[in-house]
């Protein structure tokens, strides 16, 4: 079987009409919708409160509305996200949550609070940066308790342990399903492309996890028999900042002899990698999951954990080359990329660096990646 994956059309539709999806969900369930910035946001807490967490992402369209609000030297992603708010596209949100990570996205949140949704249930969760500290989990547990209390006061109802258990199980199921789908990409001829995987992950960040789980189950059932009518080509991984540039992946896989088989970025494995562990204290369990997840470089200190994790992914997925994708001006990734390049090259994984902006020059990137692929393939020959 080749052709469209069952379930994928629905997910593609969610990604392309995310606002329509959220509005319909809100109307159907009479629930609330909370936008979130950064995948350190503890979605389980929101889900347990019958709130749809939806990740705010941009649309890669040139814009100038954010100029008065965010200095141009901050990353295009944070400005693109704010642009969506300023243009009224997220007018159905009941609030915006940020879990503290990088500097840039904080401005998106503060501007959203001041200028887009001042009356919203907006919250700045001071997520610890020192996730290496033994105190990080107890600290975050307390912050989650404060946030939970605030949500309960806003909603006028308790977030019960049963509700938390249901949310945790739903999210953990989602993560297991994503792992199962990703495992197929280890095959010599992966039955799904990197572009399809990104759509699946991105849709999951925007939709009700129970609905996403249904689609994933459908996809999982179809994958064993799916045979893509294409040459896998060079096996690549994508590592880097937030990246939801589907057009870029389409170019790499449709126009060039390559397949993106795995990734380490927050519209990929970093989002779903680890589960909430079992625990009597549900908030502590959720805190542990987010503290111990694959780290954003802004939190990967003192000792590094990212590089070994990325190296392991590269080996398990039999990667030949890594595209290091960095959102322009992203300091945390800029600090990590040179040593990461060395780490991967020392471990036999060729690397190529690309700086992303709001839009990417597909023609120029195609030539550059083509040369990179030729380099890898030439090495295979000799």
């Amino acid at each position: 079987m080749s052709g469209q994956l069952p379930g994928l059309a629905g997910l593609t539709s969610v990604v392309s009409d995310r606002h329509g999806y959220a509005r319909q969900w809100k109307e159907k369930t009479e629930g609330k919708v909370m936008g979130y910035l950064c995948t350190y946001a503890p979605e389980e807490l929101l889900y347990a409160a019958h709130i749809l967490p939806t990740r705010i992402v941009g649309t890669h369209e040139p814009q100038s509305v954010t100029e008065p609000y965010i200095f141009g030297m901050y990353c295009p992603f944070c400005r693109d996200c704010l642009a969506q708010g300023l243009q009224g596209r997220y007018d159905y949100l009941d609030g915006v949550l940020i879990a503290q990570s990088c500097l840039h996205i904080r401005q998106t949140w503060s501007c959203w609070k001041k200028y887009v949704l001042p009356e919203g249930q907006n919250y700045y969760l001071p997520f610890p940066n020192n996730v290496s500290s033994p105190s990080a989990v107890p600290y975050l547990t307390q912050e989650l308790a404060v946030y939970k209390k605030g949500l309960e006061e806003w909603l006028g109802q308790e977030i019960t342990d049963d509700a938390l258990d249901h949310a945790i199980e739903t999210y953990n199921t989602n993560r297991r399903l994503m792992h199962a789908i990703y495992a197929f990409r280890k095959q010599e001829k992966p039955p799904l492309t990197g572009k399809e995987a990104m759509i699946i992950t991105l849709a999951g960040q925007m939709m009700d996890k129970e609905e996403h789980n249904k689609a994933l189950t459908e996809i999982l059932a179809a994958l064993p028999d799916r045979n893509l009518d294409r040459d896998t080509g060079v096996r690549l991984m994508i590592v880097g900042s937030e990246d939801d540039d589907i057009a870029f992946l389409n170019m790499v896989e449709e126009d060039l002899n390559a397949t993106v088989v795995v990734d380490d970025h927050c519209t990929g494995t970093r989002y779903f990698w680890n589960e909430v562990p079992a625990g009597e204290n549900r908030l502590e369990a959720i805190a542990r999951r987010y503290v111990e997840r694959p780290r954003c470089p802004s939190k990967d200190w003192f000792a590094r954990t990212r590089f070994e994790h990325i190296g392991r992914l590269a080996r398990e997925y039999n990667v030949a080359g890594a595209l290091l994708i960095q959102q322009k001006f992203c300091d945390p990734h800029e600090a990590d990329i040179p040593p990461l390049q060395k780490y991967l090259e020392d471990n036999g994984i060729r690397t190529y660096f690309l700086e992303f902006d709001l839009t990417v020059p597909l023609g120029q990137f195609k030539i550059r990646i083509e040369a990179f692929l030729e380099m890898i393939q030439a090495e295979d020959l000799f």
Partner: protein
């Protein structure tokens, strides 16, 4: 020259001492090993009180001031920037950091000698790069490294959320374990409290000095203030630095009493924002051609000064000695130390949600008798430039004239003096001021 009344003015008597203390600081760090001392590195916000309790003789070199010192020497700075770039680091990263790393990679110190290798790094983290800075340095130099996360959100919110103070206290206890291990010394609570009192006095004194700049004419201009505030960025536990601030406070008080101006022709006052472009401090002298003076900023007042905020006004914070506080045990002292750094420094808001910074700025314009604000859109620091555009909007909404300019605190390749002065000329023209001299 246009006719304008001139205030009496005179140079600061303690100016030379400030310069001497700073020079000796870098010499002390360089010569530490020769004198049987350890060297360590960390940021300007590093919790050096903890180190003082374990090794009071250790010589610290703080990161950002060293980066700024390099920036003031454009030739060396460019060499450092290029050395960092050659290692693959992007030019939009923190300019201080690239200067610092470049100095390390070139193995060149600011005095021309070899880069003095530290024995360990002890850092506090509040912007994206602080912890990464010394992660890379420690890997390159192969030295032990520890960092304490102090990015806890807005000071106004921290006060009601003790768990944030607890987190810093707990990390401090972990940091003490690290320090005892790397030095082989035990943490001395008496030395800790002594150093803590020094820090509190140093930062409180600086706030009192800044507070006196409300006077008209201003006794101290911002360019001069940068040479004074820097001592707190080098060390807040050094008794010599504390003594200097006592002396400076007395001198500023005297200048206020006698009406001595920093700028004789003062007729229009501003606050500014962010670090200045260190390669173009001359901008502050250029302002004087209009009788304009920058009297301070949230940056220079609150990075190394401690304040209380009542919702409308900033007032210098009282030290524990002034409040009659004593510390029963180590944890109590650590708690106070954490609160002093997190709750009493308004600048911490800027690095968090940024919900209050514009309020501080509007308040400063009014309380410091200013007619406008000048905001440096600083390409060299994503921390200090956080929320600058929002500050501009808030000031405009409050009816306060605002000028912005884009430059780089630590990379003169991104600083265009002619463009900056042209913008300032236009700004002054818009406010109805002509140059007093050319």
């Amino acid at each position: 020259m246009s006719k304008v009344d001139l205030y009496p003015t005179e140079p600061f008597k303690c100016w030379g001492k400030a310069k001497e203390l700073r020079t000796r600081y870098y010499e002390k760090y360089r010569d530490a090993h020769k004198n049987g001392r350890r060297r360590y590195v960390g940021g300007a916000e590093t919790l050096d009180v903890l180190v003082a309790a374990v090794d009071p003789e250790a010589a610290l070199m703080t990161a950002e001031p060293y980066g700024a010192s390099i920036a003031h020497n454009p030739k060396f700075s460019r060499a450092c920037q290029e050395a960092a770039a050659a290692k693959g680091f992007a030019p939009d990263m923190c300019a201080y950091l690239r200067n610092w790393w470049g100095s390390m990679y070139l193995n060149k110190y600011i005095d021309g000698g070899e880069f003095p290798r530290p024995d360990f790094a002890f850092q506090s983290h509040f912007c994206c790069m602080h912890a990464k800075w010394f992660q890379l340095a420690s890997e390159y130099l192969n030295i032990p490294y520890f960092a304490i996360d102090i990015a806890m959100g807005a000071p106004n919110d921290i006060a009601g959320n003790q768990q944030r103070i607890d987190f810093v206290v707990n990390q401090s206890l972990e940091g003490i374990e690290f320090l005892e291990k790397v030095t082989g010394n035990k943490f001395d609570d008496e030395l800790f409290v002594e150093a803590l009192h020094n820090e509190c006095e140093a930062t409180a004194l600086w706030s009192e000095i800044c507070d006196m700049n409300k006077a008209v004419p201003a006794p101290m201009d911002q360019k001069t203030a940068f040479s004074f505030y820097v001592l707190n960025t080098l060390s807040r536990v050094d008794p010599e630095f504390v003594a200097f601030y006592r002396e400076l406070k007395d001198e500023v008080a005297d200048r206020v009493k006698r009406g001595i101006a920093a700028v004789a022709s003062e007729r229009v006052r501003f606050i500014d924002d962010c670090q200045p472009p260190w390669s173009f401090l001359q901008f502050f002298r250029y302002m004087q051609m209009y009788g304009a003076v920058s009297v301070g900023s949230v940056y220079s007042f609150t990075l190394m000064g401690t304040w209380d905020w009542d919702g409308e006004h900033l007032t210098p914070a009282k030290t524990p000695k002034e409040l009659g506080l004593t510390f029963k045990n180590r944890e109590e002292a650590l708690r106070f130390y954490a609160e002093w750094n997190l709750v009493k420094k308004p600048i911490m808001d800027e690095l968090g949600a940024g919900l209050f910074k514009h309020q501080y700025m509007v308040s400063m314009v009014r309380d410091w008798n200013c007619q406008g604000a000048i905001i440096h859109y600083n390409r060299g620091c994503e921390g200090a430039s956080l929320h600058v555009a929002e500050s501009r909007l808030a000031l405009m909404e409050a009816g306060i004239p605002v000028m912005t300019y884009e430059a780089n605190m630590g990379d003169d390749r991104e600083t265009d003096p002619a463009a900056i002065t042209a913008r300032f000329d236009a700004f002054m023209d818009s406010m109805g001021y002509e140059k007093l001299y050319h």
